[in-house]
Symmetry: C2
Amino acid sequence: MSTLYLAVIGVGGVGKAFLHQLHHLQTRLRQRNPPTHLNLILLRRSTTQILSSSFQPLDTSTVLDQLHQSQQPLLPLPELLDYLHTAPGKVILVDNTSDQTLAASYPSILQKGISIVTPNKKAFSDSHALWSDIFSAAANGTGSPNNGYVFHESTVGAGLPVISTLKELVETGDEVTKIEGVFSGTMSFLFNSFQPLGGGGGRFSAEVKKAKDLGYTEPDPRDDLNGLDVARKLTILARLAGLPVDSPTSFPVQSLIPQELESVSSGDEFLEKLPQFDRQMDDLKESATKEGKVVRFVGSIDVPSKQVKVGLEKFDASHPIAALKGSDNIINFYTKRYGSNPLIIQGAGAGGEVTAMGVTGDLLKVVRLLR
Amino acid sequence: MSTLYLAVIGVGGVGKAFLHQLHHLQTRLRQRNPPTHLNLILLRRSTTQILSSSFQPLDTSTVLDQLHQSQQPLLPLPELLDYLHTAPGKVILVDNTSDQTLAASYPSILQKGISIVTPNKKAFSDSHALWSDIFSAAANGTGSPNNGYVFHESTVGAGLPVISTLKELVETGDEVTKIEGVFSGTMSFLFNSFQPLGGGGGRFSAEVKKAKDLGYTEPDPRDDLNGLDVARKLTILARLAGLPVDSPTSFPVQSLIPQELESVSSGDEFLEKLPQFDRQMDDLKESATKEGKVVRFVGSIDVPSKQVKVGLEKFDASHPIAALKGSDNIINFYTKRYGSNPLIIQGAGAGGEVTAMGVTGDLLKVVRLLR
């Protein structure tokens, strides 16, 4: 029998779905021979927390309700980490936030022997210095085997096996030459409906409004349209492919926010004024249609020339990127071994359940390595 | 520092590519901190072997040449396993054969604490009893943690992450409802060129001959056309999805060998007589074209109704299975979490380098678990 200790931060869409999946996983692991006990000892959100004072397991099925009624004040992060460090076994931190401060602490968390699984892109797409510090500390980087492991599958393509596949290509000695794809569920939806394969679609501003109404965008749609989310994902993949990209703003990223609307005060005002700029996007759509092509918002990494870029591109109707549906992501890996036909991974790249699945899958990997 | 011992059997196309990749991996692992030494102590083929008598490492870059000059007689399998069992550390057996006898010994090999990585489909697609025995013995099944681990990514889709993805879907609690795809590089090539998207293509017998000339078929093309290879892969996936399929002959498998030619004496005679049966395939192609569809050789698993089948089916031009190129495989996972748009994995599903990549990737997983 082995016992591992789990500290979970963040109870948004992904965090809630994760708790549900965790309950299922705990049951599975307890039934194995020998059983592994995955004891939840912390659930924390931005304002409050539930912390087990004696490392006794919290009840995963009711802890979320308890948290919402809790008045327990937040222990400052350094003190919390010191406390977790005293657990009577290995500790795994699940960071289901997009918190920059927490991300900046990953190197010291790993050095305390605490493993991390997370969909938090900030840690891996900010400065290259933070990236280096994380993987110099991680036991699955170049850190001591007594340090923690770090896994972050859900930072790109949610639960799709994108990061694990790229790592395996590199680690088994393949040469990745190019990575190209649609990396944002929001952008995928927008362009699949603005210019679906076979024509049609409404005006761009109307599609943005529809996407927002369906809950496919951030509260302020500019947070999707500025391209930064895709740039962060490209930064992560480029680094894994061996390019030491400085930051997500160190390569060309096309923003779909008209310059005149960058500084309007609210997302609502932005949506109201966006129709004034539909002409530009219509022109682009028409020119693509004339060439028998469609417009898509893609990211690409050309490894030999070290070029990373994010923006609008035209694709032939026969290209897999043109045939994308709904809010699916598609990622094409071109490598020496795979030749002219890429290794392709496609499917839902956003949503609480599939993102949490990537986190739960990573957790299972760490459990196997620790027990 | 840790040292692991590696015994490799089989030096065909996959075996040769694996040795090349192993050399690269050994270098990488030696450079890590702390270093892991992956000592090759056996290379064996059907007629001879090179066995390190004192567990000193063989030179991976020259051992293949040595094997071809070797007169060292084969140690019988039971004695060989007893010898490996005395190694001064953990042993991993890489089975790059399609040997049924070796496959039947997996349970006892795992019980000796020896781990197995392999593209050998026989072990996982024969009787359900052998499957159960293997996973009751494996440390990553329900066996003792002191037993060996078993990984077999390359048994389906070569190096594509098919098995690992399906396992993760199941283990994280998703509900797989349907798996559908093109699972044979040979069949993919045949039908992509017999009836490519947009029409064209030659007569069926001519395409079979072309495929054979290009080296895309087995020496006797009937070994591809009988559908058994695809049936074996479907058996493996169905079992992983929770269906206790009896054997690869326990569900409907359509053979493309005309009944009259099943018993002709040679592959050459078969190819000579096949044109007499082109009419049937032409009819099928014409009827598909009339419906705006194309014909493909697919396998599918419907989990709720427990139906597994392999054979020809028609697909709309807009379906991803219709758009396949070259000898690519495509695998669609329909699950509760992924909803109406499946999780899709696509790319080369045959060939020495990509199959060996799946083996090398599995080896790396075992190394991480053992060191």
